[in-house]
């Protein structure tokens, strides 16, 4: 069977994540990503995505399925889905923005960027740095100079807080390896 089928609707693609997991997706859904679309048009059905982890890829595929033309979702349902979708730490979001941009999914990229933009609207410079984990490459003198040039922008009540889930919290990233099972413990003295 030729892999460059002329019936994209029935074409199943295999996407391979950075963790080497494979995911089967209908081409008609996956081509919302222009990157994937180009590969399909070049005849590929195995799509390696070496810089996207399984966790991110799974969620992105959810997004694509929901936003596919034939998903039958109303605008309200899509909005609700999008609102739920972006509920994640900014650190996570940077991974998603990266993936969405690499895959060329404009709607998703835009959604994520807008969410991020809204988050930092009233934040102080320090908060922005912490949220984005950006290294400050200014010397203290240089920074003072830049600030002084625009002191009006730093006036007023700026939010210095960084929300809990925006900080780095790797231990909550879904690892569920239990080294001890209850059975082992009950009988011990």
């Amino acid at each position: 069977m030729s892999s460059s089928s002329s019936e994209p609707e029935s074409n199943i693609l295999t996407l391979k994540s950075a963790d080497n997991d494979e995911f089967q997706v209908e081409a008609s859904i996956a081509v919302q990503s222009t990157t994937i679309k180009n590969m399909v048009e070049d005849g590929y059905t195995d799509i390696p995505l070496v810089n996207i982890s399984s966790e991110v890829l799974i969620k992105i595929l959810d997004y694509l399925k929901k936003h596919a033309e034939n998903s039958g979702c109303s605008e309200e349902e899509l909005n609700e889905f999008d609102n739920e979708f972006v509920k994640m730490s900014i650190k996570k979001m940077s991974l998603f923005v990266y993936a969405a941009s690499f895959l060329h999914i404009p709607g998703l990229t835009s959604l994520l960027c807008q969410t991020i933009a809204d988050k930092i609207k009233n934040k102080s410079v320090n908060a922005v740095r912490r949220i984005f984990e950006i290294i400050n490459d200014y010397t203290p003198e240089e920074e003072a100079e830049v600030r002084a040039e625009h002191d009006w922008a730093h006036e007023g009540e700026l939010d210095d807080t960084v929300e809990e889930d925006d900080e780095v919290r790797d231990e909550n990233d879904g690892e569920s390896d239990d080294n001890e099972t209850p059975d082992d413990e009950t009988g011990e003295n």
Binding site: V97, C113, V125, V128, I134
Partner: protein
């Protein structure tokens, strides 16, 4: 777009075009300028943002006291309308600012290729009697291209029934005052931005609105080009000679571009109740356009053009759109006015 596959975390590894997109979606200039202090990379990318929103904190008028502002408007209007009751009630006095003011032009100079610019003034420009609402939208190029004005008094205790209810001529004074006030406000906003328009050649879209949603000045690509090419100059308002002693850093409400000789088509209804229950007294719709001096357009074309402008002006607001539709059903009157 190049993607690095190294393992650096955070936003440092996102390519520039993505950060650029994010900055465009932030739009708010104050936030963006603050981001310049975050890192050197941000500092170099912020000036590239091309879709911006500038929220103005406060507007300085040429003179400190509001009394002078009052007399400017009233003196001006007195020259047109003979008997004028005291229409204008003094607004809150603006506090004298402690810090130095940055003009929009100065702030915007930091950005190198602005394409879409939205300016949001803190409030509307008109001081109106309680219960009176005015909404306007003006399109500018080098000079005024069109202005649509909707004015009314709220029908619940807003008063003015006597004024507007007396037949065709009643309330005309008020309607003209509303119209002229809106035109002055619009041309003042236009004048305010001329410097910016001239400095930013890539600007394609400019909107000057206010937080009260009272008025909107719009300049599209063509209009912006026309303004630049003619290097539009403003004229100082007749009565108020705002001397520019304070120079850079202050910008004026009382300097404005000249309003050309115009033709105004006016529709009005003494009383109107909308589908949502809202009652309007003295509801007035005016479409203002420069006089068709060369006579290139026929009467019918003129009227259709005016109707089209009216329907397009307040499309986003269902209530006002309905008011416009209703008003368009009544007879219209033409007034002409000299340039001022």
């Amino acid at each position: 777009m190049e993607f690095e596959s190294d393992n650096s975390d955070g936003f440092d590894r996102l390519p520039d075009p993505l950060i650029h997109l994010m900055f465009n979606q932030i739009s708010d200039i104050k936030t963006l300028i603050r981001c310049r202090s975050v890192s050197k990379r941000f500092n170099s990318l912020v000036p590239q943002a091309d879709s911006l929103l500038l929220r103005v904190d406060r507007v300085i008028s040429a003179t400190d006291s509001d009394d002078d502002d009052d007399s400017f408007l009233i003196a001006f209007l007195r020259s047109i309308i003979k008997s004028l009751h005291h229409l204008v009630s003094p607004s809150k006095v603006l506090p004298t600012p402690a810090r130095s003011q940055n003009s929009p032009a100065q702030i915007l100079r930091e950005f190198e290729r602005i394409r879409n610019l939205e300016i949001e003034l803190p409030s509307g420009d008109l001081r109106l009697e309680k219960g009176t609402t005015i909404r306007w939208k003006a399109d500018f190029g080098k000079t005024l291209k069109s202005c649509v004005i909707l004015g009314f008094r709220s029908g619940d205790g807003g008063g003015g029934e006597a004024e507007f209810g007396g037949g065709a001529g009643a309330g005309l004074k008020m309607r003209v005052v509303w119209t002229i006030s809106a035109l002055i406000a619009a041309s003042a906003r236009h004048y305010m931005m001329v410097e910016v328009v001239n400095e930013h050649k890539e600007l394609e879209n400019l909107v000057i609105k206010d937080r009260d949603d009272e008025g909107k000045v719009v300049m599209d690509k063509k209009g912006l080009r026309e303004c630049r090419e003619s290097q539009c100059e403003g004229e100082e308002a007749e009565v108020n000679n705002a001397s520019s002693g304070n120079g850079v850093g202050l910008w004026w409400r009382n300097n404005r571009t000249t309003v050309p000789a115009v033709r105004m088509r006016m529709w009005h209804e003494a009383r109107m109740e909308l589908s949502g229950g809202m009652k309007m007294v003295g509801a007035t719709l005016v479409v203002v356009r420069p006089t068709n001096a060369g006579g290139e357009r026929s009467e019918v074309e003129e009227q259709n053009g005016d109707v089209g402008l009216a329907l397009g002006a307040f499309g986003e607001d269902a209530v006002y759109f309905e008011a416009v539709e209703r008003l368009l059903k009544s007879r219209s009157y033409i007034l002409e006015m000299n340039s001022f």
